[in-house]
């Protein structure tokens, strides 16, 4: 399944990010954000979700 893991830049120290990337999970770091990108940076959040969906052909 195409998967993206989205996280805020303040949480970029999460220990498993490298493991996710190595296993095919797309990483999306959201600037000016921690755990709540929908509040801190919704523009970037929607852009990354839209880009992720636009590249797949999952329908």
């Amino acid at each position: 399944m195409p998967r993206m893991f989205m996280y805020g830049e303040q949480n970029s120290s999460l220990s498993y990010l490298t493991k996710l990337s190595a296993n095919g999970v797309e990483l999306a770091e959201i600037p000016h954000s921690a755990h709540f990108p929908m509040y801190s940076n919704p523009v970037a959040m929607w852009e990354r979700i839209a880009e992720f969906h636009s590249r797949g052909k999952p329908d």
């Binding site: 399944m1 709540f36 929607w46």
Partner: protein, 282 residues
């Protein structure tokens, strides 16, 4: 404990009109630059005026669903937009509501994309007959029941935190239905319980007292938007639902093998598993 339904007004969001600048004259008089034209959502009572669960047109509709999960009666507050494509199902995090994703109705990139989002039991406008029954497994069953009621068989998932964990277990339990998954800091490991583990590190026999202290600690946290988040917690969450949610989140994060579950979600479109084909982008 019975959860009394809250009386929020329904249609509060607006979308751009097809002709761009049309606007309610009353709004224009007080806000000359206003571009909003009409409610983005239309409200429907239980049962509504839809047939076979399919609404006409592309405007989102808000609807209350009468459901039973594990013998518990729920009135689940939903917002959805139907269409031909597979919908995105949004599952909000603890302390949030379906409105976190309401702006999808205003996003041009998703203009043709159906979606469904709802308030989890214990949160927002959804009412729950027995708040003590709420846990992550209960939220997974709720998601399955909502999807069944909505007639949604295949879907894209977007889940945040508690909702990301719910989405992961939903996709894991029924791997033939999820088409993609955007996990917004959903729990994958013990380190992810920076909110929920407070049920263990700062225990209290009194749910109200625990929640008050939790809100204050969150408000003082030096991270983006935590003060904003804390300010709305009392409005969005029932204190009696917190313990069951947090304890199950901690248990699953510590012992639920979440990372292997996430990495092994199957890729439907190419009949592979994602961890065998790191660059699979279907």
């Amino acid at each position: 404990m019975t959860d009394a339904a809250r009386g929020h007004s329904a249609a509060t969001l607006y979308e751009a009109s097809p002709d761009g600048l049309a606007c309610d004259p009353a709004l224009r008089s007080v806000w000359p630059g206003a571009r909003a034209a009409r409610p983005a959502f239309t409200g429907q009572g239980i049962g509504g005026d839809k047939e076979d669960g399919v609404s006409s047109g592309s405007r989102p509709t808000s609807e209350q669903l009468n459901l039973r999960v594990d013998g518990v009666s729920l009135k689940v507050a939903t917002v959805r937009r139907d269409g031909e494509l597979a919908p995105i199902v949004f599952l909000h995090g603890f302390g949030s509501t379906k409105e976190d994703y309401a702006d999808i109705a205003l996003q041009p990139a998703f203009a043709r994309r159906p979606f469904l989002t709802y308030d989890a039991p214990g949160c927002g406008e959804t009412s729950c007959e027995d708040l003590s029954k709420i846990s992550i497994p209960f939220l997974v069953k709720t998601a399955q029941t909502v999807l069944q009621h909505a007639g949604i068989r295949r879907f894209h998932l977007v889940g945040h935190s508690m909702g990301g964990l719910t989405a992961l277990l939903l996709a894991h339990q029924d791997p033939g239905r999820g088409l993609s998954f955007v996990d917004i800091e959903g729990n994958l490991a013990p380190e992810d319980c920076f909110l929920s583990r407070q049920a263990v590190t700062h225990p209290s026999d009194d749910d109200e007292s625990f929640f008050d202290d939790f809100i204050e600690r969150t408000r003082r946290s030096p991270f983006y938007s935590t003060a904003l988040y804390a300010a709305s917690l009392r409005h969005k969450v029932r204190p009696d639902a917190v313990r069951g949610i947090f304890e199950s989140m901690v248990d699953l994060s510590d012992h639920g093998d979440l990372m292997p579950k996430f990495l092994s979600l199957p890729c439907l479109a190419c009949s592979c598993t994602a961890n065998r084909t790191p660059r699979c982008r279907t």
